[in-house]
Every structure is written in structure tokens, then in C-alpha cells.
């Protein structure tokens, strides 16, 4: 059912003599062109133009009609969407029209210096004269066409079917098209424009509605809902319900019939590969690899260590040798000897010696205790390093004073570090002791312990809660009771407490003398005030830490313990936490239930999409009214031959619905017969082709000379006579 364009270049252009007209059905959806007298148009394509830029060369090219998207990847299509020459059903963009005609004639095989055939082209009902004249100008000037005729596509379709007996010479043609829907009464085989009726709703609106609905319902699959795909869906699955309310109720109840009517579109979906638990061999293999890697690393580390040890030992030996040599050397030659080796004094050599031996010992990995001892020894030798500390100030020179200060500083810092270490050690011991006690208590009396823990948890929780509440409420509570005008809401509880203390201290003893401060306890007030803020926060932190600890303990040992949820700021629980679960097949299904009949319903009720005009059934009534024929028989004849053409009339169920709708408008008992065209899509072209093949056709056209001489007014009144 989806349309396939035919754009093969035709080769037999030259076979046709100059008198054979070319027939063009210029529709808002598709453009059809062919030769008069044939049954099928030669070239069919979508009436749109794209002007993308080529990615590598950068030039802007024109692409007419629908093309394979795979080829379009060579072009940058971001700035150029498909553009149509139409606005509603009137051509207004003649540049685009020219591109389209170029393409059409080219594919028809046109060669030669001009298009030397008369042209029959379709237009909309009551086409504005400006559009008509510009079209004529385009054809005459640019293409050199000898003569042109304009006709209405619905009328051609009607005549074609009339000849085949589908409809009579008096009847109504209903043509739901791409952008508009027309109802045209025919009297004596000629369309009566006076009674014509047009609503601005068509297949475009139906497709657009379906696209929007699906995009809103399935936002994550929005990229899949392209225009072409949705049109395909519409053509395949949409239908018109005989009574929309009944259908909707059916779907709402979710009955079996509704299930049958629901269509499901499965998008391509690849289930994620199931990760099976690694088998035994896998685990073993991985473990072996890890083992080997670990081994390699250890070997490397070992090698490095041994090389470093060797290095240090060598250095040590060298230094010892040096010392020995030094001992043997005479006093006077020490300085010259030392300058050769690079060390300044004996002490330096000795200190380097000790350092090297220390690092050697560390590299060899001796126990920590020895290290600690060494450190202590090293520390004890610090008193040697700070020789100047104990020397009183007045015996030192300025440089030595500076030196002394530096040594004092160093000493105090090292001592401080030692003290800190000691304290940490003690704390560690303390903590271990506490946990041990805890364990003992638990082991000897589990129940009691559990009870104690629970009560402790509850108390802590309450305290934390309360503090939190105070903090929040302190900001929100009435400002009346707090000190300070208008600032009450901004201060939290602690600050308000401070203010209160201050004010009471200041004003409380206003009666008598101000003897604040006479007693020592009064000054404690300041301590309270200043510490109030800090204490609060620290205390709450401690409490919360304690709470967390107790909570974890309880969770570890008590299987029935459920931690009370953290108090979160109150939110309206409208949005649920998105549940993250693996995507299933169902997530990739697009379900078309009531949308199947909701979208075409807009043809009958345009106010469902906000267009305030009559629907199909009402339009027929309006059209008959406008005719104002006052001839009952004529009206009966009109309704007994109602003819449906146009792409949108292909919806299943439209005939019955239309009949039911019209029956509501007409007097009881009047004959109503609705017939559909043999081929609603192509019949317009076929009718035009049959019309153009008629010998009398030439009289209905107008030539270039006519166009320039007779002027616009004549063009406005130009009308084809459809019965030849």
C-alpha cells in the first residue's frame, strides 16, 4: 500500500507528435505526469524539493522528490528540510515549482529547445488568479509551451468514473485530499462552483496528529517516528469507526474485541547478552593469571630491593674505608685529603655513615622495634645536635643566636610530634579495650545487650530529629516571640537563644542598678553565649556519628532491626523514583489502540485538532444548501450519487460513516448512495488524460497570445468545460 515513486527516465519522448498533450496532476502530495491517452502516468514522485549541501564539495544541489536515505548521507541535510511549493492547496512558491517541473520534464525524456506539447495541468477549486497567472507565465516563458489548460482534479476523476457508471451526471464529488477536503456538486456533468465547499483538513493533518500522539506516548522512540513511517502506519492500520464513542468505550473497557483491534509494532531490539556466571575453569584461569602477575611483581620488587641493598652496602664499605684511611692520615693532611673525597669534615662522614647503615637496615626489613630504638637513639643524639640550646643568650654571637632559635624550634616540633604519636597510641588502646568490653557484654547476655542498643538508638535518633526539627522550625516559627523586629525568622534557634540571653542580661536588671558583673557567675553568660553556637553543631555532629555507629552495630547483629528512614525534607511524593530495571521486549513495542480510529476521526470532526470548520458529513449539507436549487428532485439525485475520490478516501469504513452522517442531515427516506472511485489516487490523472485525448480538447486550452492579450480578468473567468 505505501506509495512507490516512479522516476525512471522515459526514452520515448520523441515518438509523440507535437499535438499530443502532456497531462500533469499537480497535487500537494504527489506529482504525476504522463502522456494524454494513456492509463498510467509515466512519472510519479512526491511533490517536495530539498536543497542540501554536498559534504565534500560544498555546493548546494537540488534534490526533487523522495530519495533513498542511504544516498542522502553524502549531503549535509541539516539546514535543508523538504520544502513544498504549496501552501494549503495553492501553489505560491514558483521557484520550487520550477525545480519540480524541470525534474518532471527531464524524467519524461524531454529534449529539444522547448516543450512543444500542449499541457493540461490541475489546480485547486477557485484557484486565485495570481497563482494561475504565475503558473501560466512559468509554462509559457520558461518552457515555451504552446498552449495550456487548467482543470480541477476532482472533476476529472468524476468524469472518468461517470463514463464507467460509478456515478451519474448529477452528483456530489467528495475529495479528501492531502491538505484540504472539497465537496463539489455536479449538475449536468459540470461542476457548480457556487455550491462548492472546502475544509482545510486532509491527510497531512491525520498523519501529523498520529505522529504527535505517538511521539508523546513514546518519547524515547521519537527518532523512529519519521513522516514516511507514520504515513505507512496510517495507510496500513488506521480505520474510521462507525461510531467513535462506541469504539472508544470498547477500548476503555479493554474487552476482547479491543484486544483484537489493537495492533502492536515491535521495534528492533537486541536482548542484552546474558552474562553467565564464570565457569570453574574461567575462575581458575583468572586466578592463575593473577597469581602469575603477582609473582612477577614480587620478583621485580625483590630484584630492586636486593640491588638497592648491594648499592648501600657498597657505599657503607666505601665510607668505612674512608674513615679508616682518615684515622691513619696525619692531622695536617686531613683537610687536603678530605677535599679530594668531597666531604668537608669527619662528622659529616660519620653522619652519612650512620644514615646509610640505617637505610640499609630498613631495606633489609628489620623489625620495627629496632627501628623505634634507633629512632630513640637518634633522638637522644639530638641533644648533641642542639648544642646551643643550653648555652645562655649573652654568651652567643648574633649568628649563634639565630642558630639557637632554630634549634629550639626544631626540638619543640619533634617533641610535639612524639607526644601526638603517644596520644594516638593511647587512644587506640582505649578503643580496643572498649570494643572488647562490648563484645564480652554481648556474649554474656545477648538479649539485654540488644535491648540496651535499641534504646540507645532510639534516644539518639530522637535527639537528632529534635535538633533537626528545631533548626528548621526555628526558622519558620512565629517571629513574635523572638527578639529583634523582623529578623526573627532568619535566626536559627541557637542565635535566638543568644539574643535572648543578651537581652535578659541587659534589660533584666534595669530596675535597680546595673550590677551585672558583680558576681563572678555573671561572666559565665559570655561563655554560654559564645559557645552556644559551636556547641550545638559539634554536639549534633557527635550525636549523628554515634547514631550511625549504633545503627551499623544493630544492623550487624540484629536480624529484625530496621533502621528508621532518614528524615528527608518533605516533598510532594508525586514523582516516583525511576525504577531502574533491565529493558524488556515490551519496552520496544509501540501499541496502536484507539489511535487507529482517533486520527482519521478528525476528517469528520476538525475541531478535535482545533480547526473550527465543518466535517465531511456536514460539508455535504452545506454544499447542498449553497446550491439553493429549491429542487427536491435535484437534491435527491445529488445524494443518490455521492462519489468519493482522493487519497484519504481509502480509509476502511469511511463509506458507511459518511452515509450514516448524511442520513442525519437529509429528510427521512431520501435516497443516499455512496460510491468510491475505482482508484481514488490515480483516477484524477486518468480522467485528465482521457479528457486531453479528446479531439475537442484543443478548444479548451489557451495559448500564449491569448494570455497576453486578454489579460488577467479573462484568466480569472477561464473555466474548462468538462463534458466534451
Amino acid at each position: 500500500m505505501p506509495f512507490i515513486s516512479k522516476i525512471q527516465r522515459q526514452t520515448d519522448y520523441n515518438r509523440f507528435p507535437s499535438s499530443t498533450p502532456i497531462v500533469i496532476d499537480n497535487g500537494a502530495s504527489y506529482f504525476r505526469i504522463g502522456w494524454a491517452g494513456e492509463t498510467e502516468p509515466r512519472v510519479i514522485f512526491r511533490n517536495i524539493v530539498q536543497r542540501p549541501r554536498h559534504k565534500s564539495t560544498g555546493e548546494t544541489v537540488t534534490v526533487v522528490g523522495d530519495h533513498d536515505t542511504a544516498l542522502l548521507k553524502h549531503f549535509d541535510c541539516t539546514r535543508s528540510g523538504p520544502r513544498s511549493a504549496f501552501d494549503s492547496n495553492v501553489v505560491f512558491q514558483f521557484e520550487i515549482m520550477e525545480y519540480i517541473l524541470d525534474f518532471a520534464f527531464d524524467r519524461l525524456g524531454a529534449n529539444g529547445s522547448r516543450i512543444d506539447h500542449p499541457i493540461l495541468i490541475t489546480e485547486c477549486v477557485c484557484n486565485p488568479v495570481q497563482s494561475r497567472s504565475k503558473m501560466a507565465e512559468l509554462l509559457f516563458e520558461t518552457y515555451g509551451v504552446p498552449s495550456v489548460a487548467f482543470g480541477v482534479d476532482a472533476a476529472f476523476s468524476y468524469k472518468y468514473n461517470q463514463q464507467r457508471g460509478i456515478c451519474q451526471k448529477d452528483g456530489l464529488a467528495i475529495c479528501p485530499g492531502f491538505t484540504t477536503t472539497h465537496v463539489i456538486p455536479f449538475v449536468d456533468g459540470e461542476p457548480v462552483n457556487r455550491g462548492c465547499c472546502r475544509t482545510n483538513i486532509g491527510g497531512y493533518h491525520v498523519t501529523d496528529n498520529l505522529k504527535q500522539l505517538l511521539s508523546l506516548k513514546y518519547p524515547h522512540h521519537m527518532a523512529r517516528f519519521t513522516w514516511e513511517k507514520i504515513e505507512d502506519l496510517k495507510m496500513e492500520h488506521c480505520y474510521i469507526a462507525p461510531d467513535y464513542a462506541l469504539e472508544a468505550r470498547l477500548f476503555q473497557k479493554g474487552s476482547k474485541e479491543a484486544e483484537d483491534k489493537t495492533r502492536c509494532w515491535q521495534l528492533p531490539w537486541v536482548p542484552p547478552p546474558i552474562e553467565e556466571p564464570p565457569s570453574e575453569e574461567e575462575i581458575a584461569r583468572k586466578a592463575a593469571i593473577k597469581e602469575r602477575q603477582g609473582q612477577r611483581l614480587r620478583e621485580m620488587a625483590e630484584a630492586k630491593r636486593s640491588s638497592r641493598i648491594n648499592e648501600l652496602e657498597n657505599q657503607l664499605h666505601g665510607l668505612e674505608f674512608l674513615l679508616q684511611q682518615l684515622a691513619q692520615v696525619e692531622e695536617e693532611e686531613i683537610s687536603s685529603f678530605l677535599s679530594k673525597t668531597g666531604y668537608v669534615s669527619k662528622q659529616e662522614i660519620e653522619s652519612t655513615l650512620t644514615k646509610v647503615s640505617q637505610s640499609l637496615r630498613k631495606a633489609k626489613g628489620e623489625s620495627k622495634v629496632e627501628q623505634a630504638e634507633n629512632e630513640e637513639k637518634a633522638d637522644s643524639s639530638t641533644s648533641d645536635k642542639y648544642p646551643l640550646i643550653n648555652v645562655p643568650d649573652n654568651m652567643l654571637t648574633p649568628e649563634q643566636l639565630k642558630e639557637k632559635k632554630r634549634q629550639i624550634f626544631l626540638k619543640t616540633t619533634t617533641e610535639g610530634r612524639q607526644r601526638a604519636k603517644q596520644k594516638r597510641f593511647e587512644e587506640e588502646l582505649e578503643r580496643e579495650k572498649k570494643t572488647r568490653e562490648d563484645e564480652e557484654r554481648r556474649l554474656e547476655n545477648p538479649e539485654l545487650y540488644l535491648e540496651q542498643m535499641r534504646t540507645k538508638y532510639k534516644d539518639l535518633y530522637e535527639k537528632v530529629e529534635q535538633r533537626k526539627r528545631l533548626k528548621i522550625n526555628g526558622g519558620h516559627a512565629n517571629g513574635n516571640s523572638s527578639g529583634g523586629v523582623g529578623r526573627g525568622e532568619r535566626l536559627n534557634a541557637a542565635q535566638r537563644e543568644r539574643m535572648r540571653l543578651l537581652t535578659t542580661a541587659a534589660f533584666d536588671r534595669g530596675k535597680g542598678e546595673d550590677n551585672f558583673g558583680a558576681k563572678d557567675e555573671d561572666w559565665q553568660l559570655y561563655k554560654l553565649m559564645s559557645k552556644d553556637n559551636d556547641d550545638d553543631d559539634d554536639g549534633s555532629d557527635e550525636d549523628e556519628a554515634e547514631l550511625a555507629r549504633v545503627c551499623s552495630r544493630l544492623q550487624a547483629i540484629d536480624p529484625t532491626f530496621v533502621p528508621k528512614p532518614e528524615p528527608t525534607p518533605s516533598q510532594a511524593a508525586t514523582t516516583e523514583v525511576p525504577r531502574v530495571r533491565p529493558l524488556t521486549k515490551e519496552d520496544f513495542q509501540v501499541v496502536l489502540g484507539v489511535e487507529r480510529c482517533r486520527c482519521p476521526e478528525i476528517l469528520f470532526h476538525p475541531n478535535l485538532v482545533g480547526i473550527d470548520q465543518a466535517g465531511l458529513d456536514e460539508m455535504t449539507g452545506a454544499s447542498i444548501r449553497r446550491l439553493a436549487s429549491k429542487n427536491e428532485a435535484l437534491e435527491d439525485r445529488l445524494t443518490s450519487s455521492i462519489f468519493m475520490t482522493g487519497g484519504c478516501s481509502l480509509f476502511p469504513g469511511i463509506n458507511e460513516r459518511l452515509e450514516a452522517g448524511i442520513r442525519m442531515l437529509r429528510p427521512c427516506g431520501s435516497p443516499i448512495k455512496v460510491a468510491r472511485a475505482l482508484d481514488p489516487v490515480l483516477d484524477a490523472w486518468r480522467g485528465a488524460s482521457a479528457y486531453a485525448a479528446n479531439l475537442q480538447f484543443q478548444q479548451q486550452t489557451f495559448s500564449r497570445v491569448d494570455y497576453y492579450e486578454k489579460g488577467e480578468d479573462w484568466l480569472r473567468r477561464y473555466q474548462l468545460r468538462y463534458t466534451l
Binding site: D68, L71, A110, G112, T142, N200, L216, F251, A614
Partner: protein, 123 residues
């Protein structure tokens, strides 16, 4: 131009033998400088011509507003919708749909309303 593109004849050639004036002659700078008149302007020009009102023209033959009572269907599900939400201006069918309606972010609300041209348009 890639071989497959040329083979498929995707691109419209710039020179056509049957044309008297080529596109690049008419519109030297690529796009036409002419601003084509939109339909509204064309129709206004037509009305101004003061033709007899009896004659059918493009505007005349437009159909009248619908006489039938407006059918109210739910914006989201498509079922019959007797209810209307004053806050979002959406129509809904029952309580479950109402929950959904109230939980929609504003963007979706406007898109649903745009379906029946009831969205708030800020220009």
C-alpha cells in the same frame, strides 16, 4: 560527487535543454531574491479586487463552522472525556489519567494542548 550518487541521478542537473532561461540565469545568486507572496497575501489581494460577492472565489467556498456540538475526547488516551483540568487545561477521562495529567512536565502539557491548538503561544 560520489559514483553512486551520480548513478542514481539524485541531483537535478543545472542545465536543461528544453528551457529558455536556465535557473542560474533567473536566480544568479542561488536563491531567488523575490519573496514569494504567501497565501494570505494572495487572498487579500484577490478580495481587494472587489468582484461580485456572488461569484465563488477561494475564500467564498470555505466551509462554515461546525453546527454539531463539540466532541470532547481525552487528550491523552482518546476516550470520552467528561472532565477538564483547570490548571493545565487538559481533558481527561478518569482518575488514573488525571494522575498522569498532573504529573506531566510543562513541555508535554503544551504539546498535548498544541494537538488541538489550545496551547499558550508566546510570540
Amino acid at each position: 560527487m560520489e559514483a553512486e550518487v551520480i548513478k542514481a541521478e539524485l541531483v537535478l542537473p543545472t542545465h536543461m535543454s528544453f528551457k529558455r532561461i536556465q535557473m542560474y540565469g533567473k536566480y544568479p545568486k542561488g536563491q531567488s531574491k523575490v519573496r514569494w507572496k504567501q497565501l494570505k497575501q494572495i487572498l487579500q489581494a484577490e478580495i481587494c479586487q472587489n468582484y461580485s460577492p456572488d461569484e465563488p472565489n477561494y475564500v467564498n467556498i470555505e466551509s462554515p463552522p461546525s453546527m454539531q456540538p463539540c466532541k470532547r475526547i481525552c487528550d491523552i488516551t482518546g476516550f470520552e472525556a467528561p472532565y477538564h483540568d483547570p490548571r493545565t487545561n487538559l481533558r481527561y477521562a478518569n482518575a488514573d489519567v488525571f494522575k498522569l495529567v498532573r504529573s506531566l512536565p510543562n513541555e508535554y502539557v503544551q504539546r498535548y494542548l498544541a494537538l488541538r491548538k489550545a496551547a499558550v503561544v508566546l510570540r
